[in-house]
């Protein structure tokens, strides 16, 4: 991977370069309060782009997997039915995507483009996507109490899956190219060659950063083992389930959740469209069949499902990573405090206790 150095004042020129190349660039902004969000960059808002800010709750996942997406149109005339697929193939760049969300997109790639069937809609969004990763290096603004990418090994600096990575070194930024497309940007005069001192500085900042995370003790490896082996007591799942309000919030903010439902809605007297909409395994209708039979009736069965799907070794092997990227959004939005870090901790404690007793009795 090639790296270059650029002046702090030139960082947003990367956005300009991408826009000149015909990309719709989305970047993070502050809302009116403390809320943050990704929005399309225009000439008017370009100067308000934030490099350092709390990661928006609404993940950039929606740029490859929209929360509502049109799949096809059905039209009826003279007894005939015409079915027309609806395709969108945007040329888009995400500027300022965090390392955790980058890992999320990589996870979606494995899921939607791997296995037996490729998802053409996902592929269309992904094909021309340019990813500019920003390393979370501002302890006060980038990293919050819930962040735990150091536990999932996805951050704070992504090692792969970006086109370009930017890291704040103070008065300068380091840019790392992850793909030929990213490297092509280095032709612009804003980039210059770096020195060994820049790399030392990067390492020093990262070393210091890792100490600044509040959540550093999520013992994923033990929990993955317990979940995979089915060692977790029903009682523990029930405790977790009892705290679930079934709002589905954890799923809707998750950069690695993939489930959707499909719905048909009218758009004219003889026309309707088929859309897919994000769905959540926390909701009781998720597995309910026509006629009312629901194989996953109890709340804790559904909670169990979410964590099993994310942490079981079988899926990790298939998708090359667990379906958790350590962004901490579920922990931030959950009213019952059963976000991923808490659950990992609850499982580790409860199952670890059982483990200990069983060993003692033998």
């Amino acid at each position: 991977m090639k790296a270059r150095i650029l002046d702090r004042a030139d960082v947003l020129k990367i956005v300009d370069l991408l826009r000149q190349q015909g990309y719709e660039v989305v970047a993070p902004f502050y809302g009116r309060g403390r809320d943050t969000f990704f929005d399309t960059v225009t000439d008017q808002n370009r100067d308000r782009i934030q490099i350092h800010l709390p990661n928006p709750y609404y993940p950039p996942k929606r740029f490859v997997f929209p929360h509502i997406e049109r799949l096809m149109k059905f039209e009826r005339s003279d007894g005939q039915i015409h079915i027309e697929p609806v395709y969108e193939q945007p040329k888009r760049a995400i500027f300022g995507i965090r390392s955790c969300d980058l890992a999320g997109i990589y996870h979606l790639d494995r899921f939607y483009l791997g296995r037996e069937f490729r998802d053409v809609y996902y592929e269309n969004h992904r094909k021309n996507l340019f990813l500019v990763n920003v390393v979370c290096s501002d302890v006060d603004r980038d990293i919050n109490d819930e962040c735990f990418c150091v536990c999932t090994d996805t951050g704070p600096a992504a090692r792969d899956h970006f086109d370009l990575q930017l890291m704040d070194l103070g008065s300068e930024f380091m840019a790392v190219a992850g793909t030929p497309a990213g490297e092509a940007l280095f032709a612009d005069p804003i980039f210059r060659k770096g020195e060994a001192a820049h790399i030392e500085k990067r390492h020093a900042i990262l070393d210091e950063l890792r100490k600044r995370f509040k959540t550093t003790t999520s013992w994923f490896s033990a929990t993955v083992r317990y979940v995979t082996q089915g060692d977790i007591l029903e009682k523990t799942w029930e405790e977790i389930g009892n705290r679930c309000l079934e709002c589905g919030g954890c799923t809707y903010v998750c950069p690695a959740c993939t489930c959707f439902t499909v719905s048909d809605r009218p758009i004219g007297p003889n026309e309707f469209e088929r859309v897919r909409v994000w769905d959540a395994c926390a909701l009781s209708g998720f597995t309910r069949m026509a006629g009312g039979h629901n194989p996953r009736k109890a709340v804790h069965d559904r909670r169990n499902r979410r964590f099993f799907r994310k942490l079981a070794h079988f899926f990790i092997q298939r998708e090359l990573a667990m379906a958790c990227v350590g962004c901490g959004r579920c922990a931030a939005v959950c009213h019952g405090d059963i976000g991923m870090p808490s659950v990992v901790e609850m499982i580790r404690r409860a199952t670890g206790e059982v483990d200990k007793h069983e060993r003692a009795s033998h």
Binding site: Y112, R276, F308
Partner: protein
Amino acid sequence: MSAPATENVYLPKTAVLERVVSEIAEVKTFYWHFEDSAEQEAFRQFRPGQFAQVSLFGVGEFPTSLPPSPTEGETFFTVRQVGSCTSALHRLQPGDKFAVRGPYGNGFPMEDYYGKNLVFVAGGIGLIPLRSCIVYALKNRNKYKSIQIFHGAKTPKELMYVPNLHEWEQTPGVECYLTVDRATDGWNGNVGVVGSLFKKPGVQVPVENTTAFVCGPPVMFRFVIKDLLEMGFSEKNIVSTLERYMKCGVGKCGHCCIGVAYVCVDGPVFTYEQIKKLGEDI
């Protein structure tokens, strides 16, 4: 925009309803074909036990099993009217258009059972997916040893595919046993749950070198499995097909997951050995 190179697996193809046959109350069989004959030809290569996704204009899409055997010329679904999509299908008239995609799922590995005895146990409309295997096995009769069919329903009026049942009862080399929970309408056959047929005098269910196909409501399934295991069947020689709420049929939407399996791509056919390991209610 030009069509992308990747096939759109979500895109159904237009089908025409040919005729409708009433089976039992609220259950009808819908004979249909694709508008496009090449599409029809490709679809007809399905395996027994696979399923299809059916789209109804303005209502939605639902998964349904394929009761015909690929050895038969016709394509049809047998569907109970239970939700909005199935009700919309029931309202269609011959000549009406709808849309279908598939076939999906693994299906029964019928070739693996060559040289074996086959035992089919179907409760109620559980006979719908098994019909495909039965017809397939009868068409390839010399490839299999003994064939037994056990079918139970609540009342005589709820026995499925009655013309087929009569035909199977008359077919040499096939044993077909029927039972009902409640004898009405002058029924003089067996009364009791489907498992009660196994112990009837004269019925000899082979256990060695046998595959048992079980399909029916959850309660019936549990009891039949218990009976079969007691008779000495090993868990891997009991196969079934599962149903789940499903949106995509291609392993993406996540609704049909049971444990580590996606019913749509890893199933719907599983051995009881696999079903037990999935670790969730079926």
